[in-house]
């Protein structure tokens, strides 16, 4: 027999429990520890039972209790004399017991868990101070600590404390609760300070301060209460004696390890950020934590400071100042640094991974977007989705031009109107030639004007008045920024972008794609593709085909994910048309309205030997291109060119083929420094070309002025060519494009095609294109009459060859083109257009996907004509 339950019969045990419970009040009033006295008496009875060698029954227990003078009723026990009662005197009966229970069990076992759940739901502390449970792992650890506190309390009541599990949980609870108590201490102090300030300055505020005080102190003090509860001594032991037990120490060390596992990576990340050490963050830091920092937004959110930041702020003495200042704004420099470092560590853009949940519940519920009306895409917002996507295309083999119309619908399932923003990668050499917004179900065409004017109109109407516009602006070579606001709450917004683009030398028409977006795409959404032409067409992943006379069409669905990866194109199986073509240009002056294109074969000749400086982006996303880049260099050298290689890789910039061979392609690399070095080499070696093979560049690392200075002032002006390997956001290209004519001449769809694409740049032209402008009244020229896209393309191609000239914005606007000097905006009403001195384009002049006549239609026309003739004859 080793415990009360086995030393006594069940009835005897019940009697004992009942009797001892009656005396609890008296013992407590005498200053004794009720649990201790109870356990001592039980041990005494067990020892007696051991002597008897058998379990005691009810009568025997009753006799023992009587002998111990515990069987008598409480009122006849004389008052103690020699030892005074302690000041902790329980009141009477039930009220005293309830108070004891409440004090110990509720505050130690239940309240901390309730506070954790409260914070999980409301993020009250996260909104105002810092997030004590930034991740689910933190929440789990705190709940484990709460469970440990409850287990310890339960065990002390049951006097079963020696269990290894209880000791382990107690140790974990001690460490975890002490750590969180330390973190919450400034919050408790702030709350107390706020309350007393309210009392001092205003009685009214003092009343308001009470709930704040209560929330702060009781909620923030929950870990303190938990710590106090588990640090209480066990019965029969001194406090430190009970803590010195090996099992408890082991539990404390376990808790320390768990806390370290959670907190060390973010701490390492913070250190890496402060000292600009991306490799340290890659090896030991937390990319998730860095991503969260990179997606911080402005405004009253108080979000994102997590436990490690609080710890650092406390240890550095900045906790109170950072708390106050973080209520108002995010440090822009920090935000830029975090985004730059995220790219350098991972090689990804901070907004590429989708929506990053906000720590602030307020911000999450409101869906606050502090980048509204901004000049970029920025972070992904919640509850804004692309709900449908449709792409219609037409290839005109005669002109070698294609035209896409991309219709998209955005839906908003949040509580606030939202702005949809995206960057679209156009086909090489492409230009936006149409913009439509559906207003109240009716399509409305855009107004084209200077970039500044359309942007001003958009920001004023959309952001300030929250009415229905959409804005398209050119941001870089073959890249446009589309913004539409507001996508209404519970509603949707539909837009259409028209894109004119040439077929490349291999007769391919590239498909435009989204390279950066601030919305998510519903799982079910696929882009419905339809492309038609007067020649056979093929496309990878599209199998639906049809034909009618000379017309061919492809149709199918492109998964959204595959559209955002790699370059897709429609392959025309027709041959390039070198015959003369002409068109009527409705936008040109009367004396230039007939535009004729003539293609004359060139004599060709040998390939000129060029000096080329090739810059390679050694970021992680381009690793698959390493071998093909080496092959490309060798192919260029075999073609007779002198190639100087500059590689941005391994967090440094080096030159030479060895640098490319030894490049590890990790994280995101500083291409700006590589381009500066390339510019220097180009000057020194008198290079004619700088080819930049790049992936995504979501941030500019450093200042671009040094590079622009070389480009503007250099004695030699090499031709700047880019080879877009990954097709993503490129901030560096955006900066360069403002000052320089940059063209994405190479866009290989797979590494195997890179070498050929590079070599094709230097193959001599086999044909020369010449243009002729005649008055509208001139007789129809020889050659095929083609669509007016030719006129648009001609105007755009002339602009492409020169540096951006703001004086040309009127001309570009007249031709309805979005260029470096012009943009497009759709407003809600004519009054708004007039307010900003804008004019909507004539719907009859906008480009469209041509309707392909079908045999049945032609037959109807013939039949109709025949019927008409016959009727006349009868008359």
């Amino acid at each position: 027999m080793t415990n009360t339950k086995t030393a006594l019969t069940p009835d005897a045990y019940s009697l004992l429990e009942l009797t001892l419970r009656k005396y609890a009040l008296l013992w407590e009033s005498e200053g004794a520890d009720v649990a201790e006295v109870t356990s001592d008496l039980e041990a005494h009875i067990i020892a007696d039972a051991e002597e008897r060698g058998k379990p005691l029954n009810t009568q025997e227990v009753q006799a023992l209790l009587t002998q111990m003078e515990i069987g008598v009723i409480a009122e006849t026990i004389p008052d103690p004399v020699s030892v005074p009662a302690t000041s902790e005197t329980a009141s009477k009966g039930r009220e005293g017991r309830v108070r004891t229970w409440f004090r110990h069990w509720f505050w130690v076992a239940l309240w901390p868990a309730l506070v954790v759940f409260f914070e999980l739901i409301t993020r009250a502390c996260g909104d105002q101070f810092f997030s004590p449970i930034p991740t689910w792992l933190h929440t789990g650890l705190l709940l484990v600590a709460c469970a440990g506190g409850w287990l310890y309390f339960y065990s002390t009541q049951r006097r079963e404390i020696g269990s290894p599990l209880v000791s382990l949980m107690r140790g974990i609870c001690i460490t975890v609760s002490c750590y969180w108590s330390f973190l919450m201490l400034p919050v408790v102090l702030l709350g107390t300070f706020a309350y007393f300030m309210g009392v001092v300055f205003s009685a009214g505020l003092a009343i308001l301060g009470i709930p704040i005080f209560m929330i702060c102190v009781l909620g923030a003090g929950a870990p303190l209460l938990l710590a106090k509860g588990v640090l209480r001594a066990e019965p029969d032991k001194e406090r430190w004696e009970s803590l010195r037990q090996p099992k408890v120490i082991f539990g404390m060390l376990t808790g320390l390890v768990l806390v370290a596992l959670l907190e060390v990576p973010p701490l390492v990340t913070q250190y890496g950020i402060a000292h600009n050490k991306p490799q340290l963050i890659r090896d030991f830091g937390s990319e998730k934590f860095l991503l969260k920092l990179a997606n911080q937004q402005d405004g009253w959110s108080g979000e994102q400071r997590d436990t490690t930041e609080q710890l650092v702020n406390i240890l550095s003495g900045r906790v109170f100042s950072t708390t106050f200042f973080s209520w108002f704004s995010v440090n822009r420099e920090s935000q830029k640094k975090h985004r730059e470092l995220y790219y350098r560590v991972t090689g990804q853009a901070y907004n590429e991974v989708g929506y990053v949940p906000r720590a602030s519940k307020l911000a999450t519920v409101r869906g606050l977007d502090s980048n509204l009306g901004g000049d970029g895409v920025f972070s992904v917002v919640e509850n804004l989705d692309l709900s449908s996507s449709r792409m219609d295309g037409h290839i005109d083999q005669a002109t070698g031009l294609g035209y896409w119309e991309w219709t998209q619908t955005f839906q908003n399932s949040g509580l606030d109107p939202k702005e949809a923003r995206m960057q679209i990668l156009l086909p090489p050499g492409g230009v936006v030639s149409r913009l439509t917004l559906w207003v109240n179900g009716e399509p409305q065409e855009a107004a084209f004007s200077s970039t500044a004017k359309v942007a001003e109109a958009y920001k004023s109407i959309a952001v300030v008045r929250r009415q229905d516009p959409v804005l398209v602006r050119w941001v870089a070579s073959d890249r446009i920024l589309v913004q539409c606001f507001p996508v209404p709450v519970g509603g949707d917004m539909k837009i259409r972008v028209g894109i004119t683009a040439p077929l490349d030398k291999a007769q391919r028409l590239y498909v435009p794609r989204i390279i950066e977006q601030n919305f998510q795409t519903l799982e079910r959404v696929q882009t419905a593709l339809w492309v038609q032409g007067d020649v056979p067409l093929t496309m990878d992943g599209i199998s639906g085909k049809g034909e009618s006379g000379k017309w061919r069409e492809l149709h199918g669905k492109l998964p959204t994910k595959s559209m955002s990866e790699g370059h897709h194109y429609v392959q025309s199986l027709g041959k390039p048309n070198h015959a003369p073509v002409w068109t009527h240009d409705p936008f040109a002056p009367q004396d230039q309205q007939t535009l004729i294109r003539t293609i004359v074969p060139s004599p060709g000749g040998a390939i000129d030997s060029e000096t080329i400086v090739m810059v390679v982006d050694g970021s992680e996303g381009n690793q698959a291109w390493q071998d093909s880049l080496l092959q490309g260099v060798r192919a260029l050298e075999e073609q007779g060119h002198s190639v100087h290689l500059v590689v941005a890789g391994n967090d440094e910039v080096k030159s030479g083929i060895e640098a490319l061979e030894s490049c590890k392609f990790i994280g995101g690399q500083d291409n700006l420094s590589a381009l500066v070095l390339a510019a220097e080499i180009a000057q020194a070696e008198q290079a004619d070309y700088v080819i930049w093979c790049h992936g995504i560049q979501p941030v500019v690392i450093g200042e671009v002025d040094s590079l622009l200075q070389f480009i503007e002032r250099g004695l030699r002006q090499p031709k700047f060519i880019t080879a877009d390997l990954a097709g993503g956001a490129n901030r560096l290209l955006e900066e360069l494009s403002k000052e320089l004519a940059v063209s994405d001449q190479i866009r290989p769809s797979s590494p195997a095609l890179l070498a050929d694409a590079l070599c094709s740049l230097f193959e001599p032209e086999t044909h020369t294109v010449s243009w002729q402008l005649l008055p509208a009244s001139a007789p129809a020229p020889s050659g095929q009459k083609v669509w007016d896209q030719l006129a648009r393309w001609h105007t755009w191609s002339k602009l492409q060859k020169t540096n951006p000239d703001p004086m040309l914005c009127d001309k570009m606007a007249k031709y309805q083109l979005v260029t470096p000097v012009s943009g497009a905006v759709v407003l809600e009403s004519q009054e708004q257009y007039q307010e900003f001195d804008l004019s909507q384009v004539d719907p009859d002049t906008v480009p469209e996907i041509p309707n392909t006549p079908e045999p049945s239609s032609l037959l109807l026309i013939l039949l109709g004509a025949t019927a008409t003739l016959m009727q006349r004859r009868r008359r």
């Binding site: 415990n3 001592d40 005494h44 515990i70 029969d236």
Partner: protein, 145 residues
């Protein structure tokens, strides 16, 4: 006849009165002994524990309850022991036992030893004082020559 009744009545009343006095004397005496025992109980406990380095609780209680004249029960001793521990007069130690529950041992702290010495000293002086009074007191039927 009437006289006999009256005498019997008087005898009964006297008998009742006498019984009441005796009973009152008993209760007063009982109270006095109870208070006296309570007064020295703590000293007895400290003295019993202080005889050795540490003392097994069960045996301590057994010894105290068996001490003649002390007439104290386990129900009084254990709460007192708990109070003494909370005051830091004694410390306890639980030793796991292969047979039966863990054994609790008591040991005096420095505070306990000091209190015990103080109590012993006072008790001795009180005893001496009472003895002195007792020796100096004279019986009622004795007169000084």
């Amino acid at each position: 006849m009437g006289g006999n009744v009256f005498v019997r009545y008087l005898a009964l009343q006297y008998s009742l009165y006498y019984d009441g006095c005796i009973k009152m004397m008993d209760e007063t005496f009982q109270n006095w002994t109870t208070q006296l025992r309570k007064g020295v109980l703590e000293l007895c406990i400290l003295a019993a524990i202080g005889r050795q380095e540490e003392c097994y609780g069960y045996e301590l209680v057994k010894e105290l309850t068996a001490t003649p004249g002390l007439e104290v029960s386990e129900g009084s001793i254990y709460p007192l022991l708990s109070r003494l521990r909370k005051q830091g007069v004694v410390v306890t130690k639980l030793v796991e036992s292969a047979n039966g529950p863990a054994r609790k041992y008591y040991k005096l702290t420095a505070i306990g030893k000091a209190r015990m010495e103080a109590m012993k000293s006072y008790h001795a002086s009180l005893n001496q004082g009472v003895e002195t009074l007792y020796m100096n007191s004279k019986p009622q039927n004795q007169t000084n020559d």
